[in-house]
């Protein structure tokens, strides 16, 4: 498929070069002498398990938040059209395969990098979502707490994936950078229903991507343990 084409790889390299230029965050402790960070060393398996746990939880909480939001704010007739803007998920530009067969053909490296990309692309939108939810008059505490929790966990997931990349792929640390996509401009005061639907779409898209992350990581784990069954 398009993975195999060299052109695509070149495009990838071009896209990724800003990452290489900026500084990296030291996360792995045991390999750096005199490091100021104090994280304990952890085995790769355990780290992967923990990362998967994170991803599972994030997916579950995002699913709960989505349902909560739907119950509270989305009027019933609009619920069927919740995916009206689904095609316009902010991460749809990312070259992430969506079918099982495609995913199975991905290498470990691409799996990890895809996950990292997804995570990073959602950090800022979630922060934005927090601010908009605060503007709602009757957003429940539960919903706000859930979204807050998710954005925090996402950050730690990002760090975990970065460490995993370093351990598994022996690559240098990729810097954190903010998403270049500016799809979330808040121009003036949108109409209530519009903003509701926009936020709802945001939540659904995030839920979808969380599921993707979880699946990728699980496939990765399967490959670690038993490569014959999983491929």
């Amino acid at each position: 498929m398009w993975f195999s084409s060299g052109m695509q790889r070149a495009v990838w390299a071009v896209l990724l070069w800003p990452y290489l230029l900026t500084l990296c965050i030291p996360l792995v402790c045991k390999e750096e002498q005199g490091s100021l960070t104090r994280c304990p060393s952890i085995s790769q398996e355990k780290l992967l398990d923990r990362v998967i746990q994170h991803a599972e939880l994030i997916y579950r909480v995002s699913e709960e938040s989505c349902s909560l939001f739907q119950e509270m704010f989305v009027p019933f007739p609009m619920r069927l059209q919740r995916n009206q803007a689904g095609y316009a998920c902010i991460t749809k530009e990312l070259p992430i395969p969506s079918s099982k067969s495609e995913i199975q053909q991905m290498s470990d490296k691409w799996l990890l990098h895809s996950v990292l990309m997804l995570v990073r692309s959602w950090i800022e939108p979630l922060v934005y979502l927090q601010t908009t939810l605060d503007l709602y008059d009757d957003a429940s505490e539960v919903l706000l707490n859930k979204t807050k929790w998710v954005s925090e966990k996402l950050l730690s997931l990002e760090q975990g994936v970065m460490v995993l990349i370093k351990k598994m792929l022996d690559e240098g640390m990729l810097p954190t950078t903010y998403s270049e996509q500016g799809l979330l401009h808040n121009d003036g005061q949108p109409e209530m229903l519009e903003s509701v639907m926009r936020d709802y779409t945001l939540l659904s898209c995030f839920k979808k991507d969380a599921h993707k992350m979880e699946t990728f990581l699980k496939l990765l784990k399967c490959r670690q343990t038993d490569i014959y069954n999983c491929a």
């Binding site: 997916y59 749809k92 079918s99 991507d209 599921h211 993707k212 979880e214 699946t215 038993d226």
Partner: protein
């Protein structure tokens, strides 16, 4: 009432209305999509229903179009038709792996053959429509059984559906177990588990149980179908009824035994649980005085020098038994008064429970008695052979050895008075009580009776007769007591002759005392102690001056446990 009827009536009317509406007046529903379902997140299928439009049930009459990741308003040429209309069942479209994109949203439309009529449409994400196949391989094993054999636990295990790719981690499933006894209609639901085994506790024996499992995707909303039920049955022979009866019987027996024990040992238990409280008791003092507050009498008794009150400070805590009182009365009392060995006073008996042990025998104070009265038992016996021998004696003289023994019979309730003189006949004159305060007449009656019995007499015998002097301390001195009066009147005549007696020796025994003691006769009786009898059969009395100040604040005197110390009592005197 009227409201109730109207409410019920309106309900029925509404029901009827809807029934009519839906059956007769509403036109038959056009074909519609019943739902799209995926079982393994890799494929899915969409189904629709043709209710009344039977002419459209032919294959190809209805067509399904879908569009993927694009807005549904796209022109029809971008829509694709169903990749595969199912052959095994009608009105179904199957999307295989190639046409399934997991995290993409789908729009599906049901149209007529000529695409002109749009009957129904649906939008979804594939991961949202997952309903996994039921688990397979349901199996149970016995974990353990209860002691009574009435309940048991099982471990249920199963396998995930084959269609779901759990090994790879493509799908994470959660399982829900439901079980019930065959007779009941209600299913017991066990919480979701991620493992493929779960234990069920507390199933009853001899009852047929039905167990089934279903699963859903982790984070998904809808459950799949239930698996085939598996039946669990364990029979046991132990029936529960005798166990319960046995327990009841055993507990009843235990209760009965306890009751028997309590009843038989009631007294002992009462002593243990409610130990007897020592009542107010001072040896040598009538408890009636203590109870009824005759403090003046009390102080007159307790104000005596401690040596005169041997009974109060007797180390021997044991009660005086009746034999003792018998002995006392027998040789202490004048024969004219009573010659039989009647007890001195019933009232003197100490009825309160201020004793260390009810069952302890009265110990004879042999040690005290022996150096002084080797002959007294025989003397007593010789004097009054009809009376029982003394078993207990207490000495008045404690410090004076070598002196002719004095014998003083102890008597708890004995009151003290002062010797005012000694007559030639040998009788000792005693001064009467100055103040008598009685609160109630009944007390007087009681004390009257007691006084009658408590005759006293101080016998001073000639030394030739054996040489003992006895000092009798009896009960209340009252001018009204007949016996006491007799001797008292005799003695009071010579009260003024006390002075003379003190200095003049006479063949008849007399007592010596300091002038200070004599002078203290009139207003406040001063007591002294007879130390002994000299060779001339005269009484040797201890000097009073040293004793007087010590009378009241006599703290060095050993007090028996539990008894009120006289010095404490004297502090409450009027």
């Amino acid at each position: 009432m009227a409201l109730k009827f109207s409410y019920i009536g309106s309900k029925w009317i509404c029901l009827l209305f809807y029934l009519i509406l839906f059956t007769a007046m509403v036109p038959p529903r056009h074909p519609h999509l019943t739902g799209c379902v995926s079982t393994n997140l890799e494929t899915f299928r969409c189904r629709w229903n043709v209710d009344y439009f039977q002419n459209l049930s032919q294959p190809g009459d209805l067509r399904l179009f879908y569009i993927n990741n694009k807005p549904p308003h796209a022109p029809p040429k971008e829509w694709s038709e169903c990749p595969h209309y199912s052959t095994d069942r009608p009105n179904e479209c199957f999307f295989n792996e190639n046409h399934t994109t997991v995290w993409a949203y789908y729009s599906v439309q049901l149209r007529s053959k000529d695409l002109a009529i749009l009957y129904d449409e649906n939008r979804f994400n594939v991961e949202d429509i997952v309903q996994p196949d039921p688990p397979v391989g349901l199996n149970w094993t016995l974990l353990n059984m209860s002691l009574t054999g009435a309940y048991y636990d099982i471990m249920l295990s199963w396998k995930p559906p084959r269609s779901a790719d759990v090994e790879m981690g493509w799908m994470t499933l959660q399982y829900e177990i439901q079980y019930r006894s065959v007779t009941s209609e209600l299913w017991e639901v066990v919480d979701l588990v991620k493992n493929t085994q779960r234990s069920i506790y507390g199933l009853q024996t001899n009852v047929n149980h039905e167990v089934r499992v279903r699963c859903k995707m982790h984070g998904g909303k809808e459950f799949g179908e239930f698996s085939n039920s598996v039946f669990v049955h364990i029979s046991s022979k132990v029936s529960t009824f005798p166990v319960v009866a046995l327990f009841i019987f055993g507990s009843l027996c235990l209760v009965a035994i306890l009751m028997l024990v309590v009843i038989s040992q009631q007294e002992k238990l009462m002593v243990i649980l409610l130990p007897p409280v020592p009542g107010p008791k001072i040896r040598g003092i009538d408890p009636e005085i203590l109870k009824k507050g005759k403090l003046r009498e009390l102080t007159s008794i307790l104000g005596a020098p401690p040596e005169l009150r041997p009974e109060l400070y007797n180390n021997d805590i044991e009660e005086q038994n009746d034999t003792l009182t018998d002995l006392d009365t027998d040789w202490l009392m004048d024969h004219s008064l009573s010659s039989n060995c009647s007890p001195l006073s019933v009232g003197f008996r100490d009825d309160d429970s201020g004793r260390a042990s009810c069952c302890d025998p009265d110990l004879p104070s042999e040690l005290e008695v022996s150096p002084f009265h080797p002959l007294t038992p025989t003397q007593i016996l010789s004097k009054e052979p009809s009376c029982p021998a003394a078993s207990e004696q207490s000495t008045l003289v404690q410090g004076s050895t070598g002196v002719e023994p004095l014998f003083v019979a102890p008597s708890r309730e004995a009151l003290y008075t002062q010797v005012s003189g000694v007559r030639s006949s040998g009788n000792v004159l005693l001064s009467p009580e100055v103040d008598k305060t009685t609160n109630e007449d009944s007390e007087k009656d009681m004390t009257e009776k007691e006084k009658e019995k408590k005759a006293f007499q101080l016998l001073v015998m000639n030394a030739d007769d054996g040489g003992y002097t006895s000092e009798l301390n009896a009960g209340n001195m009252s001018p009204r007591s007949s016996e006491g009066d007799m001797s008292e009147r005799d003695m009071s005549d010579h009260s003024k002759a006390g002075e003379d007696l003190s200095s003049s020796p006479s063949p008849s025994p007399y007592y010596k005392s300091d002038t200070s003691s004599m002078s203290a006769l009139a207003p406040v009786p001063v007591y002294t102690m007879v130390e002994g009898v000299d060779t001339q059969n005269s009484l040797l009395l201890t000097p009073n001056s040293t004793l007087a100040p010590q009378m009241i604040n006599q703290k060095s005197v050993p007090t028996p446990d539990g008894y009120l110390a006289p010095d404490l009592l004297s502090s409450v005197t009027l």
